[in-house]
Symmetry: C2
Subunit: 326 residues, 2 copies
C-alpha cells in the first residue's frame, strides 16, 4: 500500500484554498461576517478531506469533488453553530462561539445561511449522479437533526440503553462522515460496492471517533485541571461511559453516578470520583475496547475495498483520527 504522508495536509490546503476563492458577499454583514468567521477558524477539515480521499481512492479526480467537500464542511459548520447555541457553549476551536461573539439570533441566521451555502456548493458538482448525491446529503441532514434531538432528549431521560446511545451517535456523528465518504466515492465514479464499503469504513470510523471523544473528555492527562476536563459529565451528557456504568455498575456505583449527573457545577474532585466509577465498573476499558472494535470494522471495510481501490490515504486518515488527543 502506498503511504503518502503529505496527502492529508495537501488536501486540507486544497479545501482551504477553495474557501479562500469563494467571494462571499460583504453585505448584509450580520449574515456574512459570522459565516466568514466560522470558515476562518482553524478546523481540521476532516470531513472534506475524507470526501477528496474517497473520490481519489476509486480513481476520480480530486478537483471534481472540491465543491462537495466544501459543502460538507459548510454543513458541518452549520451543525456546530446551531449546536453551540443549544449547548450554551462559549468557545469553539479556541475562539468565542458565534452566539457569544455576536448573539444567538445572529448565530441562528448564520447557521441557516451555512446550510443554504452548503447546497449551493454541492449543486456546483459536475456529475451525472447529482440528484442521487443531493438526496444522500439531504437524508444526512435529517439524520443529523434526529441525532441532535435524541442527544438532547437523553439528557432528560430516566434510562438510555447502549443501543439507544449507539443509534444516536450513528446519526449525530457517524452519518456526516459516512455521507462524506459515500459522496466522494460517487463523484469519483465508484461502483455500488465501492460506495458501500467507503460508507461502512467511514460509519465505523465515526462511531469509534465519538466513543474516543467520550473517553478523551475524562482521560487526557494534561487537561486534568483545565476547564474542559469532564465537560461532558458537568453537562450531564449521556456518554458511552455513563451508559455503560449505569448498565453494569453495582447499585451504589449507579446511585453515586446518578447523583453526580444531577448536581450542577461539579468540582474537579467530584469529576475525578466519577472517573473512578468509570474505572471500577469497567466502563473505561469497555469504551477502549469499543473504539478498537469499530476501528477494526473500519479497517475490514478498507481491506475489502483495497482489492479495487487505492486506500492508502483513507488508512492514513484512520491513523490520524486514532492518534488525536483533543
Amino acid at each position: 500500500l502506498s503511504r503518502q504522508p503529505e496527502k492529508i495536509p495537501a488536501f486540507k490546503a486544497l479545501v482551504n484554498e477553495y474557501f479562500e476563492s469563494i467571494a462571499l458577499p460583504r453585505q448584509p454583514g450580520s449574515l456574512y461576517d459570522p459565516i466568514r468567521y466560522t470558515l476562518e477558524g482553524n478546523g481540521k477539515r476532516l470531513r472534506p478531506v475524507l470526501v477528496l480521499l474517497a473520490c481519489e481512492a476509486v480513481g476520480g479526480k480530486v478537483v471534481a469533488a472540491l465543491p462537495a467537500a466544501a459543502a460538507i464542511e459548510l454543513l458541518h459548520n452549520f451543525t456546530l453553530v446551531h449546536d453551540d447555541i443549544m449547548d450554551r457553549d462559549d468557545t469553539r476551536r479556541g475562539r468565542p462561539t458565534v452566539h457569544r461573539k455576536w448573539d444567538s439570533d445572529v448565530a441562528l441566521l448564520a447557521g441557516d445561511g451555512l446550510v443554504a451555502l452548503a447546497y449551493q456548493h454541492l449543486l456546483k458538482t459536475d456529475t451525472p449522479r447529482l440528484a442521487q448525491i443531493a438526496r444522500l446529503f439531504t437524508d444526512g441532514i435529517i439524520e443529523l437533526c434526529e441525532g441532535q434531538a435524541l442527544d438532547r432528549e437523553f439528557e432528560q431521560a430516566a434510562h438510555v440503553s447502549m443501543a439507544d446511545y449507539l443509534a444516536m451517535i450513528s446519526k449525530k456523528t457517524a452519518r456526516l462522515l459516512a455521507i462524506s465518504a459515500g459522496m466522494g466515492g460517487m463523484i469519483g465514479g465508484g461502483n455500488e460496492r465501492q460506495v458501500a464499503l467507503l460508507t461502512e469504513y467511514a460509519e465505523n470510523l465515526g462511531i469509534a471517533f465519538q466513543i474516543q471523544d467520550d473517553l478523551l473528555d475524562i482521560t487526557v492527562e494534561q487537561k486534568v485541571l483545565g476547564k474542559d476536563f469532564g465537560s461532558d459529565i458537568k453537562r450531564h451528557k449521556r456518554t458511552y461511559l455513563v451508559i455503560h456504568a449505569l448498565e453494569h455498575g453495582a447499585a451504589t456505583q449507579q446511585r453515586h453516578l446518578r447523583e453526580a449527573l444531577g448536581t450542577p457545577n461539579l468540582t474537579t474532585d467530584e469529576v475525578l470520583n466519577v472517573r473512578k466509577i468509570f474505572e471500577e465498573t469497567g466502563a473505561l476499558s469497555s469504551a477502549t475496547r469499543a473504539v478498537r472494535d469499530y476501528i477494526a470494522r473500519s479497517r475490514s471495510a478498507l481491506d475489502a475495498l483495497a482489492a479495487s481501490a487505492e486506500v492508502g490515504g483513507l488508512q492514513m486518515l484512520l491513523d490520524v483520527v486514532l492518534k488525536r488527543n483533543a
Copy 2:
C-alpha cells in the same frame, strides 16, 4: 379568460392531502412533534398553490408539481419558525409559536429539520430540470436569509432608504413567491420566456403583498383596539410607511416619528398618533399607490403570459391576495 373559482381551494386541498400522506416519523418526538404542529396550522398555502397554478398554466400536470409545492410550504414554515424566535413572537396563525409552545432550542432544531424535509420533497420531483430547480430553490433560501438579516439590521440603522427597503422585501417576501412560480413553470415544462413572466408576476405580487401587509398593520379598522394593531410600529420595524414618512415628512413629523420608534411599549393612542403622521406626510396614500403599481406590473406580466398560457388561476390568486384583510 376562464374563471374557475373553486380552483384555489381545490389546490389547497391537494396540498393538505399531500401533507397528510407524508408519514413523518414519531421519534424523536422533540424534532417531529413541532414539525407536525407547524404543518397542522391552518395556513393559507398561498405559496404551494402558486407552484401548482404556475405548473398548470404552462400546460403541466399539477400532480407533478406537488412535491415541489410541499417543499415550498416546508421552507416557508422553516422561515416562520426561525423568524418567530428572532422576533420573540408569541402567536402565529392564532396558536402559540413553536418556541413558546416548546422552547427556542426545540424551535431552532425543528426549523433545521423543516429545511432538510423541504429538500427531501423537492428532490422527489420527477423532472429533467431537477438540478436547475434545486439551484433556484437554494439561491432563494440564501436571499431569504439575506432579507431577514437586512430587516433586522434596519431596526438599528440610522437611515434606511426606500431603495434599501424595496431590496429587503424583494428578498424577504417576494423571492419565495417568485421561486414558487418559477419552479412551477419549470416543472410544467414552460419555456424560458414563460418562466421569466411567471417569476415577474409573482415577484411584483410579492412586493405588493408586503406593502399591503405594512398598511394592514395600521389601517384595518376591526383591529384598532386589538393587540395586533400597530405591532410593526411597536416593534420599531422599518415599514414602507415609516421610510416614506421619514423621507418626506417635515422636520417636526420626522422627530415625532423617530421618538415613537425609540419608545418601548407604545400605547394605542401613541400608535394612533403615528398613524396620523403617516396620513399627513402622504405615506399612507403613497403606500396605497405602490400596492396598485406593483399589482399593475404583476398583471402586465400575466397579460403577456396569456398569449401562450392559461392564466385564469393566477389572476384569481392575485385577486385573493388583493382582497385579504389580515
